[in-house]
Amino acid sequence: MTSPARRPPAFAVRLLAWRFPAIDAEAIVGDLTEEFAARVARDGHGAARRWFWRQALQSMTARRRDAVSAARRSRPLAGVSQDLRFGLRSLRRSPGFAGAAVATLALAIGAATAVGTAASHTLLRPLPFPAADRLVALGHDTKGELSNVGFETVVDWRTRLTSLDELAIIRSWQPTLTGDDGAVRVDGIRVTWNYFRMLGVHPALGRDFTEADDTPDSWHVVMLSDRLWRQRFGGSPAIVGTTIDFNGSTFTVAGVLPPTFEPLISGHFYRPAEIWAPLGYAVGGDSSCRSCRHLRALGRLKTGVTTAEARAELAAVQTVISREHPGAYTSEPPRLDSLHDTIAGAMTRPIEVLAAAVAFVLLVACANIAGLLMARAADRTAEMALRSALGASRGRLVRQLLVETAAIAALAAVGGLFIARAALSLSVSAIPVAIPRLDGAAADPWLFGIAAAISVLALAASALIPALMSSQVGLEASLREAKQTATRGSLRVREWLMGIELAAALLVVTVGGLMSRTVDHLLHVDPGFRTEGVLTAGLSLIGPRWAEDRDVRAFQTELLQRVRALPGVSSAALAGQIPLGGNYDTRGYYVIGRPIPPDAERPSVERYSVTPDYFGLMGIPLQQGRLLTAADRFAADPVIVIGETMAREQFPDQSPIGQQVRFGSDRNPHVMTIVGVVGDVRHYSLATPPTQQFYSTQEQMTDSYLVLLVKTDHAAAAAVSIRQALAAFAPDVPLYSVRPLDTLVSDSIATRTFLMWLLNGLGGLTLVLAGVGLYGVVSQSVAARRRELGIRVALGASRSSVMALVARRGATVFLTGSIAGLAAAVGAGTLIQSQLYETRPLDPVTIAGAVGLLAVVAVAAHFAPLRRALRTDPRETLRAD
């Protein structure tokens, strides 16, 4: 006997056995082994191994011989089409197997294709501008986010930065267009004149903005989107150079953008802009100061300059500017990001999480298909052995399996393609989350490529192991023996596959569970106000007609009177902004009687200017002092009510009542007296703790952008009658974003809710797949041991001992799978940590729940096979074999 170390390389032997018909393989391997032994003695073990490998690899390319290859030499595809016909026939013979395999794989391919396409469409696709990789966004770094900048800061950057070709500024703008159908608010942007030049976009009609347009006196010039031009201006080319009136002013139309222009950028990004006008700022203007941070800066890098180089230059330049203007800047560093990343922004992580989840679903589906194929291969060992004996080569038999799997994968790919397209077109319209640039993903040509790639991957993953396993079937063994050894060998591998499946299922279920806990926590967060029966709507009072605050106040009084008189309306109020409303109206202030801090170091406070009914309508509780009343009029002493966080942070050991604070610039100061303290509201999102807040009356701080709040039992009817009431006395005022207050709450957690639903859906899918797979393995294992179990029952084994026998293997698989899954879940938990709220990645409740769920599935998968095992009739089983 040769010692193990003297044996020829096992994998090379396996390769030869796979490559040649059984009848040749024996002689070939024998010859090589004999000479190998001689060479070990003569040349040493290493040289002999190398020789053996060389022989094996050279033999791979030798032309094969069998009946089929002789036929194939004349008709190259005859063998494959024969295999395909045979495969389809045998699939049709077992429709249950085929249906299950196609359906599970189609679901997994569909999910993976949808997520993969969404990811490539929104995250990977370059922005639709020339040399878009050179576009960057600049600002300050506020708590890890890119934040806005003041005008004079950007002017300094523009003159000093050498790494940029262009530096443009944008700000949000919502003009009101009036037409036959009343007043409509349009999303627009004010941009510096070089904005389109920076993007590399040219108007389809008319001219671009020029430097002369961009001054405080000359900025009444607009650029229209193709859509707005066609819808509101009839698509006439004659529009260029004419004037249009809106916001009570006259604007000249400079040009119309091409229809292909994707308006990705607006005030807050994502909301497509339809109309553009020059910024019209000048140094020294009212809104131009360095701490007036309401602008976004976008730039184009010079060719060859990297983002990192530009970032370093910006940091150096800002250090100098900060030194030149002490007190104008906080300690926040400047920040420069690629525009692409800024736009993909917040959705990057959720999409990555989803991509990881579908990868695991796909893994489970492939493991399942592999398991199914192996079970079939084991069932068909006799058939395979017979065909092998009749002269079919092993390669041929493996190819047969591959072709069958390919047929399954092809059917599944078609199904998956439909699922992915449906999911994508549905998600563009139905999901409550603004995923930037998802439009058109369902028609993205990459969809097909991604589906094909995923299907091929799935095919390879599912067929590889069964194919290698089946080539082990030896002819020298008798047919029956072959069947049993093959079954046992394939069972071992299938148990491994099951362990992987269970681990992946546990991982996906755990991550879904973490998101569920997060959403649950968020739904129980007290936002600080009551949403029931409250309808909100936006109004904007802009243009010369509303230039005087007095007129705005008169409008407010009349509007509230008319709305309160409407049927079904129990109360109404106005506010300059509302919590979760997406406005971030904040003011810097300081407390009178304390040292005056420099501009940049003044604390910032959210400003809510409201009518007195606001507190009752929103259910915001009074904690100290008094609320604002109708007596706090324009001419009365200016007063404010503050939130509890502001009271706690500014007046920790004294009563805030009667204290005075100062807001506004030195040119236009507001000194106001605190008369009360109310509960906090959550402004940014449910997950963000409240910050400092104060309330004034609209009489004393009048706003031109307003939110109307109405308490009503019939929101739909009220929405119609409010619109009519407004049109009756102020037809030039647009009413927009009419929606119940509770949708603001649900929208603020929409991304997480969306992620939760998808992850839980995928988790359910993996659980079902793993359950089906486990059921298959247990059934096969019981069937393979039927004779043994029968004898045991015949010899008087108790039911529980038979049960223990069957369950023991399942339990081992379950335990190893669970441990591996938990280890992976810990890693995954940290991946989604940024999406979690008051939930740790190792949340014990979630983990216990997920393991419990998995255990239920595992037990359920054992139920039917166990029953079968217990009912085993020894006579029957012994006869059957």
């Binding site: 006997m1 040769t2 044996r7 020829p8 030869l16 490559r19 040649f20 040749d24 024996e26 002689a27 070939i28 391997v29 024998g30 010859d31 090589l32 082994t33 004999e34 000479e35 032994a37 022989q55 050279q58 033999s59 791979m60 390319t61 030798a62 032309r63 094969r64 011989r65």
Partner: protein
């Protein structure tokens, strides 16, 4: 019998004839390598042997399994009468051609 033998087929048949009755994979290959100075892969050899057997020029029979072969049996090959005939026909042809051309081959 319209078949002509390829050059490698001729070498294989010569080697089988030479090594018979001990002609199996390893001895055949060694004969070709040492006499004709040609490295032969075992795969190519068996491909050719199979083809020759299908054409009825050689026959094969299984021998005994030995430990040094990892428990695999030897497959012995021998020329059939038509193998004999095909090889001598090929050899005759080469010899007839060589008789007239060989002198030029040696003195170019």
């Amino acid at each position: 019998m319209a078949d002509w033998l390829g050059e490698f087929e001729q070498l294989v048949l010569f080697a089988v004839l030479h090594k018979a009755p001990d002609a199996y994979g390893m001895t055949i290959r060694h004969a070709i390598e040492s006499r004709a100075g040609r490295a032969v892969s075992v795969g190519a050899l068996y491909t050719t042997l199979d083809r020759l057997e299908r054409r009825g020029l050689v026959t094969s029979a299984w021998g005994e399994a030995t430990a040094v072969r990892g428990g695999k049996r030897k497959r012995f090959y021998a020329l059939t009468p038509s193998g004999h005939e095909a090889l001598s026909r090929a050899w005759d042809a080469v010899r007839a051609m060589a008789r007239v051309a060989a002198p030029k081959l040696e003195r170019p």
